[in-house]
């Protein structure tokens, strides 16, 4: 049964990955990415990582891909890209060679070590063999062994939020804002004039 699940999910993953790379339209790439992410989530379930599978679907397919699609639609860049143009001569061929090498190197390493891949004996049972659910296990190590990394992660998220807000902000740049702050009263004066002017326009009309 696990073999069947693995083969189907692996086919979905590879088809989606090739779709991301080969689609001319960015929207099709994003939708192919959903397929790959879903296939990886299925493989997580097959390996007793239920919590990560749920997080994978919710965060990746639910949030990140939707963010991609929002940006594609917002910018209107859903035009086909001309893949036949090669800006650097030979770059494409070199990239394919590099990709094949990246794939061949680990496979060769596994093959030469008798497909064991680690020095330890392969354990195909549950990760939490003691009957502890994986959510509980992850939570326990996150707040004990990896507590420092978790705190650093919170700082990273705060920095990302501030950075996104600064990048998305329209109008004057931060340096200009500081200079412009004393001149705040003039816009309010203009607003007042506009309020006064608006009824008079209606009256004339």
């Amino acid at each position: 049964m696990e073999t069947f699940v693995f083969l189907v999910a692996a086919a979905i993953c590879l088809a989606g990955a090739l779709g991301v790379v080969l689609s001319k339209n960015p929207v099709h790439s994003a939708l192919s990415l959903v397929g790959t992410l879903f296939g990886v989530a299925v493989l997580f379930v097959a390996q007793n990582a239920d919590f990560l599978a749920a997080v994978q679907v919710i965060v990746y397919a639910g949030a990140i891909v939707v963010l991609f699609l929002f940006v594609i639609m917002l910018l209107g860049v859903d035009r086909a890209e001309d893949l036949s143009v090669d800006p650097l001569v030979g770059q494409r061929a070199a990239a394919v060679v590099a990709g094949v090498a990246i794939f061949a190197l680990p496979v060769a390493a596994f093959a030469t070590t008798g497909w064991e891949a680690t020095g330890a004996v392969a354990n195909l049972g549950s990760v939490t063999g003691s009957g502890v659910p994986d959510v509980e296990g992850i939570g326990r190590v996150l707040f004990t062994r990896y507590i420092f990394a978790l705190e650093i992660t919170s700082i990273l998220l705060a920095i990302a939020v501030v950075g996104a807000v600064m990048l998305a902000k329209k109008g004057p740049q931060p340096a200009d804002m500081i200079v412009d702050l004393p001149e705040q009263p003039t816009p309010t004066d203009d607003l007042g004039d506009a309020d006064v002017a608006a009824p008079s326009e209606e009256g004339t009309a």
């Binding site: 073999t3 693995f6 390996q47 991609f68 940006v71 917002l74 910018l75 590099a98 794939f103």
Partner: protein, 105 residues
């Protein structure tokens, strides 16, 4: 014969390296910044799959905890990266990764 053999853990690792190679090739070949970002996501997913497989092989939950961190870093990276892309593409809707060399000031 294949079905009778059962799933070896190294199959997952081979699949992970295939996904990583496809993502890396796409990152080098494509010029649309958005698609390049998707290829980065592909590579990150290949690595998370590898982490989960090793977590199972070595019976250590730490591999799954690392995947949580990878997810957080990927989300933060996408937020900031897409913000930069939107800021650039607003000015130049036709920009490709080659044109972004103009950022060098």
């Amino acid at each position: 014969m294949l079905l009778a053999a059962g799933v070896e853990p190294s199959w997952y690792l081979v699949l992970g390296s295939a996904l990583f190679a496809i993502g890396a090739t796409g990152l080098l070949v494509r010029r649309n910044p958005l698609v390049m970002f998707m290829c980065v996501e592909l590579m990150l997913n290949a690595v998370t799959l590898t982490f989960v497989t090793f977590s199972r092989m070595l019976d250590d939950i730490g591999g799954q905890a690392v995947v949580v961190f990878v997810l957080v870093v990927a989300a933060a990276e996408v937020v900031v990266g897409l913000g930069i892309i939107v800021a650039i593409m607003r000015r130049r809707p036709d920009a490709t990764a080659d044109d972004l060399a103009l950022l060098k000031g």
